[in-house]
């Protein structure tokens, strides 16, 4: 595996630009593919035209201009399908995948354990419990309206992880083993609470279960808009921590010797990862496997240094999620598979092949 080169910039500098550019290109192709396929057959020309009209309409609206010339009824239906249903769903899938993969990369780095995933510290259970409670209470919380469940899930995930951190901390340090233990224990506790809510509220059980299994069925540009800034902030935090995460792989003591503020790093990465996870869970429910497998696969394919791992994991997480959702919504249309089922079904064999090839090499 020769991924290094000698250059004026120094020895053993792994390229970032080219794999990132190629991966982003691949993501773009996947997005175009996913935008072109759906239960309603729409030709590439119409998809493109509808997208252009959608962007034009948004730009006009942003500048307070009147909508352009109205289109006929048939075109309006296509515009609605492409611009208001399919594209937001594809973009939301990409964001959710990127967020989960970012969180997974961060957690695996900070816990120095390839089995860490975004839900390790109880984010999923916290979000699930809060979402279930709100759904039982009628699904809306005052002004939040349609965003009530999302908002509750976000708050539930964040509060759970903060509680776990508070329980596990010793003064200003954050020892890893108590942290993971507290996460597992509080997570189980909240999962039991969710099970109880499910049993007690049979009428809403199907809705809650669908949410818990993860779904992108009700995507919208509003949801994309609410997720994007959170993911960007988390990504910026993770990228800022990338070099320190590399050093942390030497061990906490060695990292401290090299000037890394280990406790601040751990807390920062846990917070950034939690932000990304909570954001993803709030709009798409609990989608497993992406946060575990994608960073790991990227590490096997591109090497362990986080300055490459973090951005590449985000891009590959996005692409993987878009593909998984494409499968979920088309393979048994008009019915839908839970996207979490697809991520596990597709992710597991892919991961095993990667692992075997790696151990054979």
């Amino acid at each position: 595996m020769s991924v290094a080169r000698v250059s004026s910039a120094g020895v053993a500098v792994r390229r970032l630009t080219r794999p990132l550019a190629l991966s982003t290109l691949a993501l773009g192709l996947v997005v175009v593919l996913a935008a072109g396929i759906g239960s309603v057959r729409i030709g590439p020309a119409d998809v493109t035209a509808a997208t252009v009209r959608g962007i034009e309409g948004s730009v006009r609206a942003a500048f307070g201009l009147a909508p352009s010339v109205p289109v006929d009824a048939g075109q309006r239906v296509i515009d609605t399908i492409v611009w208001q249903i399919r594209l937001p769903r594809v973009v939301l899938a990409a964001l959710v995948g990127a967020a989960l993969a970012l969180a997974g990369a961060g957690f695996q780095g900070v816990f120095r354990n390839p089995l860490a995933d975004p839900y390790l510290l109880g984010a999923a259970s916290g979000a699930g419990f809060a979402a279930a409670l709100v759904m039982v209470a009628g699904g809306t919380l005052g002004v939040l309206g349609a965003f009530s469940v999302s908002a509750a899930a976000f708050v539930g995930a964040t509060l759970t992880v903060l509680a776990v951190v508070a329980l596990a901390r010793r003064g200003w340090t954050l020892p890893v083993v108590p942290l993971v233990l507290a996460g597992v224990v509080i997570g189980s506790c909240l999962a039991a609470g969710t099970s109880f809510v499910l049993l007690a509220a049979r009428e809403q059980a199907a809705g809650i279960l669908t949410w818990l299994l993860g779904s992108l069925a009700f995507a919208s540009w509003d949801r994309v808009g609410s997720l994007l800034p959170l993911v960007l902030v988390a990504a910026a935090g993770m990228l800022a921590a990338a070099r320190a995460l590399d050093v942390l792989q030497l061990g906490e003591l060695a990292a401290a010797h090299l000037g890394v503020s280990v406790e601040a790093l751990k807390l920062g990465v846990v917070l950034a990862g939690t932000l990304a996870t909570a954001a993803a869970v709030s709009v798409a429910g609990v989608i497993g496997f992406v946060g575990l497998v994608v960073p790991h696969a990227v590490r096997l394919a591109f090497g362990p240094d986080h300055r490459r791992l973090v951005p590449l994991a985000a891009v590959w997480g996005a692409g993987f999620m878009v593909l998984a959702d494409l499968v979920a919504r088309t393979v048994i249309a008009p019915a839908e598979l839970p996207v979490g089922v697809v991520t596990a079904l597709v992710g597991a064999p892919f991961f095993l092949v990667l692992l075997r090839r790696r151990s054979a090499a």
């Binding site: 120094g10 020895v11 053993a12 792994r14 050093v247 792989q249 030497l250 090299l258 000037g259 503020s261």
Partner: protein, 279 residues
């Protein structure tokens, strides 16, 4: 209590180097340091100084407080009382980054994470100098290359660390510490698990660092290697300095028998004393 003996002209190479070094400024100084873990005190008033250009050996039986001393110096463990100065600055006033620019530690049993390349690991030594959102500067790269050449790992730059031998790994870790371009270099048991050739190589690299003006603090179990590598020595027992001075002043049979609680023979030779326990 502290048995500090003035350097003697009778000693060999170590003593003369130490005499020359005594003119140099101290880069590490501890005065009356008490430290420990929670309610358990380990160090009871330790004084020491390391001058630029010298190798100070820290020896002592297991549990004497050698690792605690390293933790105090590297600011992983706070002092309970007493003071520490690194390169003239009080340790308490130095942040982690600022400390790492002055003092490097080669930890005992360092781990090297799989998948990283030798060059990447050594470059991590520049962490305290690299600014956020910026790549390493040309100066950083020059320091990395210098440290790798000095430790003989330049040719291994592109090799994944999991493919290194034990001796190569230790030299990579030393290169990482040297890449910090420290004023003080703390080596914590750097030769354990190494064969004779690698022991010699590593200690030669440490002496070279001292010759370049670094103050080296060498924590080491092997008294005979210590005798060959150090300019001065400090014998630590139960958290106290029980002897300090030249190699010949410290490696004295009666002192060693008291400190290690076992009978030893000390044989002198032109290259320094040799200590062998009676079995």
């Amino acid at each position: 209590m502290t048995d500090v003996v003035a350097p003697s002209v009778a000693a060999g190479r170590g003593a003369t180097d130490a005499l020359m070094a005594s003119a140099a400024p101290d880069v590490l100084r501890l005065e009356g340091v008490h430290a420990g873990y929670g309610a358990r005190p380990v160090l009871h008033g330790v004084d020491l100084e390391v001058r630029a250009g010298e190798v100070l050996g820290i020896i002592g039986p297991n549990g004497a407080g050698k690792s605690t001393l390293v933790h105090v110096i590297s600011k992983v463990l706070a002092v309970q009382s007493g003071s520490v100065w690194v390169d003239g600055a009080p340790l308490a006033s130095l942040g982690r980054r600022a400390l790492a620019r002055r003092l490097a530690v080669m930890p005992q049993a360092a781990t090297l994470p799989d998948g990283f390349l030798v060059g990447e690991v050594v470059r991590m030594g520049r962490t305290p100098f690299v600014r956020a959102w910026r790549g390493p500067s040309a100066e950083d790269e020059a320091e990395v290359e210098r440290a790798m050449r000095q430790t003989g790992v330049w040719g291994l730059a592109e090799r994944p660390v999991e493919h290194l031998s034990g001796g190569e790994r230790q030299r990579v870790v030393l290169a990482r510490a040297l890449a910090q371009r420290p004023r003080v270099l703390v080596l914590d048991e750097p030769t354990s698990h190494l064969d004779l050739r690698y022991q010699a190589e590593l200690l030669r690299a440490a002496r070279q660092a001292a010759a370049d003006g670094v103050g080296v603090l060498l924590v080491i179990h092997d008294l005979n290697l210590a005798a060959r590598a150090c300019d001065r020595m400090l014998l630590l027992t139960d958290g106290r300095v029980v002897a300090a001075g030249t190699v010949r002043q410290v490696l004295v049979r009666s002192r060693l028998e008291r400190a290690y609680r076992t009978e030893v023979d000390v044989f002198d030779s032109p290259r320094g004393p040799t200590v062998v326990p009676r079995v």
